[in-house]
Each structure stands twice: as structure tokens, then as C-alpha cells.
């Protein structure tokens, strides 16, 4: 088995497809360098990311299955799940080798796993649209911290830019240590330096929040309590819709 070690980016992943066709190594497996452990038995090769090659693969893919389904592969890639990436890789190889409609064959294990992963990523994307809670800082910046299960910030940037077009905002993925920042014109990727990041672990970051912000957080908590119908209490359903791992950043779930 040949292992392709790539740089962990989507373009790097697409370059593995390029390599696979160039070398006719149909059974190659792509592995991100961050998780790669060299094995005694496999032959491995480092794939350098080349934007022009990646774009050729991307264009070819879009021509074969259309833009929207081509972008499904990007979403699956953001799952960071090695099994899903391997399955997606095999499907891409099959697609380019002429098996054009393989994606509809839900009886195939790879197709099903990729479809299920796609669903999981899409669900997480939707959750982030719902669960992000902005605080307003004293300089007018609306900022939010998140720890999504999958790397979905690239998928929600345009949504928030359209919706909150007239306010500066920052959404920061604490787990992956990068964020997206919008300055009323464009969204850019940002990385905060270590000193600011340290504040996330304490509550110091709250200090910078506008005083009025605390009032609205209090009003929101009050609303959350008042709109509940005690006679219909159903904690199981509540937990199912708002799993505990998201509570940390939800204003209404704070004591």
C-alpha cells in the first residue's frame, strides 16, 4: 500500500488525487502529515501542494458532478475523520475513472459512509449557525467563542457576513485555534496570539465586554426561563437538541 503524506489542507488532499492518476497508484491512501505515523510495511511519499494541480482536479470534479456536489467533498474533508477521508478519496478515484454515478449507490459502504459524514458535518454547520452567541465588547466588536465537533467555520462565514453585514464580528474556534473576522467588508482568517488565548481559560475576556452586554445576557436568560412550559418538562428531548458539550458557550445555559 502506498501512503501519500500531504499537508492537511484541502488542496493538498486534491493533489493526492492528481498524484494517484499520474502514478496510476489506484490503491494509494492519503494521510495528513499531522496524524501520519510511518509504518514499516507501507511505502510512503510526501505530496507537495501545488495550487494549479489542485485546481485542475477541482475543475474536473465540478465538470463531472456539478459545483454543489463537488463542494460536498470539501464538507466531508472538514470532518477531519480519517475513515471518511479515505472513503471520499476512493470515491473521487472511482469518479475520475469513469464511474460517474457511483455517488447514488447507497448500497456501497464508501458512498454510505461519506453520505453519513456529510450529514454530520452539515448538522454541525447548522448547529453553529444556531448556537453561536455574540458578546458585544466595549469597542463595538461582536465576538463569539466556539468548539465545533468539525472544522465548520469555513462553511458559516458567508452566512454570518450576509446576516450581520453592519457589525464587526469575530468567531473563534478555540479547539483549532483560528477564527474568522469580519470588518463590514470581507471575512478574513485570524489567529490570536498566545496571551489573548490564555484569557479564554479564565473569565478575563468578559471584562472587555460592554457593560450593557451583561444586561442583555440577563434578559435573555430570563426569557429562556419564562418561555418554558413547566407542565411539559422533557429534559431528554432538551438534551437531545442541545447536547451538553455546547452548553459552555450558551448564555442561557449559564447559572
Amino acid at each position: 500500500m502506498t501512503v501519500y503524506v500531504y499537508d492537511g489542507t484541502y488542496y493538498g488532499f486534491l493533489c493526492c488525487i492528481f498524484e494517484c492518476f499520474e502514478m496510476k497508484e489506484w490503491h494509494a491512501v492519503p494521510v495528513s502529515e499531522s496524524v501520519h505515523q510511518s509504518s514499516f510495511f507501507d511505502s510512503q511519499r510526501i505530496i507537495t501542494t501545488d495550487a494549479s494541480k489542485a485546481e485542475r482536479v477541482l475543475n474536473g470534479l465540478q465538470q463531472r458532478i456539478g459545483k454543489s456536489r463537488a463542494s460536498d467533498f470539501f464538507r466531508v474533508f472538514l470532518s477531519e475523520d480519517p475513515r471518511a477521508l479515505t472513503a471520499a478519496f476512493r470515491l473521487l478515484v472511482a469518479l475520475f475513472r469513469g464511474n460517474g454515478n457511483i455517488l447514488e449507490n447507497y448500497g456501497n459502504d464508501d458512498v454510505l459512509y461519506v453520505a453519513q459524514t456529510l450529514k454530520k458535518v452539515s448538522r454541525e454547520r447548522h448547529r453553529m449557525k444556531a448556537f453561536i452567541r455574540f458578546s458585544k465588547s466595549s469597542d463595538g466588536l461582536f465576538f463569539a467563542l466556539v468548539e465545533p465537533d468539525f472544522n465548520v467555520l469555513p462553511l458559516i462565514a458567508s452566512f454570518f457576513a450576509r446576516r450581520y453585514a453592519d457589525q464587526n464580528w469575530l468567531i473563534y474556534d478555540v479547539k483549532r485555534n483560528y477564527g474568522i473576522y469580519y470588518d463590514k467588508l470581507t471575512v478574513v482568517e485570524v489567529q490570536l496570539d498566545i496571551n489573548i488565548r490564555k484569557q479564554f481559560e479564565t473569565t478575563q475576556v468578559k471584562v472587555a465586554a460592554d457593560e450593557r452586554n451583561a444586561h442583555f445576557e440577563q434578559l435573555w436568560k430570563q426569557y429562556f426561563k419564562s418561555t418554558n412550559i413547566e407542565e411539559r418538562r422533557n429534559m431528554k428531548l432538551h438534551m437531545q437538541h442541545v447536547p451538553k458539550r455546547y452548553w459552555k458557550y450558551l448564555v442561557e445555559k449559564q447559572p
Binding site: F159, E231, V242
Partner: protein, 442 residues
Amino acid sequence: MSYLFSNLVRPFHALERHYIKGIMERIEEKLRILADAAKYDVSCSSSGSKRQNKGGIGDASASGICHTYTEDGRCVSLLKILLTNHCIYDCAFCVSRKSSDVKRAAFTVEEVVSLTMNFYRRNYIEGLFLSSGIFKDADFTMERLLRIVKKLRLEERYNGYIHLKTIPGASEELIKEAGLYADRMSINLELPTETGLKLVAPEKDHDSVRKPLAFVNNTIKTFQSERAVIRHTPVFVPAGQSTQMVIGATPETDFQIMSVADEFYRNYNLKRVYYSGYVPVNGSSPLLPEIGTRPPLVRENRLYQADWLLRFYDFRLDEILNPKFSQLDLDIDPKLGWALRNPAFFPVDVNTADYKTIIRIPGIGRQSALKIIRARAFGQLREYQLKRLGIAFNRARYFMRCSDTPFRLGEPNMAQLKSQILKTSHTKYKSLSLEGQLTLFS
């Protein structure tokens, strides 16, 4: 007030802080009362509108977004409040009725606008659901609601979702103007039948609901046909209309309830009919269930399932409910119920049947049916493949054939089948229906 809601960004002075604390406490109290009074309106949908952000703030997400869920498991998508709970009517089922001994409050126009904007900007909500008790008269109330939505759209340049109650009896000019700013409008039927309504709310009738529903529906159609000719026709109630019925307050059968729903879907093009299990409110009429009676949650759920079968599964009402079979089973869902009453329809061969037939198999939904139809183009489907597709195999297995299903002679005994399915499936309702009984003994 202006201190708190201004966009001015600077720290407060000590005096201001004291002053603002007082304001905050009053607003919090109002929010407590007026959110509590609005919560029995179950609609929280924020879908169906495609309003776009044109230089201001906010847009409507076509699929809707639930921003959180309360501890009763209901979605919170909109800031759902009454403008006031003062009301001139005395409907027995309503917590805000005139004779009810509750604290009264009223928001000002500015307060509703600033709460909406500040919640929206922090991504707490998808928008506003604004309703109100009737104070003075219908026009006066409607005019005040209109003033709020206008201020949001025109002054705040807010493009998020707005669900506005149509006040029965309000003038058509006011309703028409409100429709230009709202995404959805609704009026509640309250009780499923006229007789039920007369019993608990003698001052109301269904005609006062039908008239404005018809008016808004016709206006929506007019705007739509105008848009076909003139592209820049403004949108009018783009997410359509809905209504709500209280279930279990008066003794209507499921057949009566669903017949009304079916008729309203057909005549007024409603987007949704909501069924709200009656929660007894303080000191209400002796005609209604007593305080402490559990809301009929299972029945409510079965009605929604029947509603879905009508709208998305191509069932006719008389297949699910009819004068002879007028109550839905509580222990099984209506699709399974129908299947057990119609053994001749089954088993369905998933490798040959068409889409409309496959979605009638209990345990297979629309998504799975589509997957089955796509996947079978690649070869006959076997049971192990169906299991992995995500269908409820334990239910579906008795009603379908895969390529490797052993041949079965004769029709299975449906009563036996039902108990078998109930035994193998762990329904969330088993515990729920038991819960009501167990409290008697504990």
C-alpha cells in the same frame, strides 16, 4: 431608557448605573410576564421566508433556525412575546383572559424594538413573534403592532423574520399594511369546532378567523400574480399563514380535528396548522380539564404525525381517520395503524415499487425512499443494505420484501404483528404514558 438602548459606547457613571439597574429590573419583569403569557402559542417556525439583507442587518434563512430549546424540549427560534396581556375578552382557556388573576404588563414600542434588535445582533434569535391581548379594540391593537414592525423594518433596517398575529376584527387596510412588513401572519382557531368555541369563549366565532385568513390569502395571491408581471412588486407575507387549535380542552374527536385542519389547508393555503395540547391554567372554567391534568402530549404528537401524512405522504384524510375510526391509536403511529388495517397492500417489494408506494411502508420515510430508489439502480437490494440505510428496520421488515427476504405464505396476523412490533421497538412513549399512571400509585 435612551442610555441603555443607545449605540453609544462608553462606560456608565455611578449614577447612571443606579438608574439603569431600575430600568433593567422593570424590563425583566415585563419580559417575564409577557413571555410567559405568549408561550402557549406553539408556532416557532422561522422558515419559508427569503427576505434578503439589503444594506441593513439580518436576513431570513429559508430553512429556519432553532437557536435553542427550552427544558420542555420545544424550539426557541423567535422572541415570542405579547405586546400586552391586558385583554377585553374572557376566553376560559386563556391565561390572559379578563377575569384571570395575573399580573398585567405592557411593553412600549421602543422596548420591543430594542429587545428584538439586541437579541438578534447577539444571534440569540431568528426574529420576533409578536402577539397581543386585545386592549381597547381590534384596530387600536393592530395599529400598535403595525407601528412596531414598521419601526423595525424602516428605522432599524431589520430584515430578520417577523411573525405577526392578525387581530380578528381589525380593518383590512391595517392588515394589508402589516403584511408588507411581516413574514408570516397567523390567527388562532383556538377550539377545533364552533360548538367547542361557543362553550368556552362565547364572544368569539370561527367566522372572525376565516374572514381575515381569506383576506390575507387573497392578498398574497394578488401580490404573487402582480410579481409575475412586475418584478419589483414588494413581498407580502412571504412565509404564508398558519393557525393553531387547542387539543383536549373540549371533547372533539381526532377525526373532527383533522377534518377542520384538512379544510383549512385546502381553503386558505395554510403553511401549518398547529395542535397545542391544553395545559390547564389557573382558576379556569369548570368546563375545562382541572389544574394538574397532564397535557395530552402523546395525542398531540399523533395528530402532528397524521398532519404530516396528509401533507407529505400523499394520504387522504379518510384513510387515516373517518367516522368509523375517529380516534388515532395512541400506542402506535398513524402510518403503522393504517398499514395494520390494510394488510392487502403489503408486502411491498422495495426493488420494484414506486416512490409513493415505498413511503407507505411503516418505518421508511421520504429520505430513505429516495435513497432506495437511487441505490436499486445498481442492483437488487438485500436486507443488510436496507438496515444500514437508516430505516426503522424493526417496523419495516414486516411490510416489505427485499431480494433475499424468504417467501411468506398467506397474510400475517395483524394483531399479532402489532404486539410483536410494540415488543421489539422501544418507544419513547411507553414511559410517557406510564408516567401518568404511575403517579397514582407513587
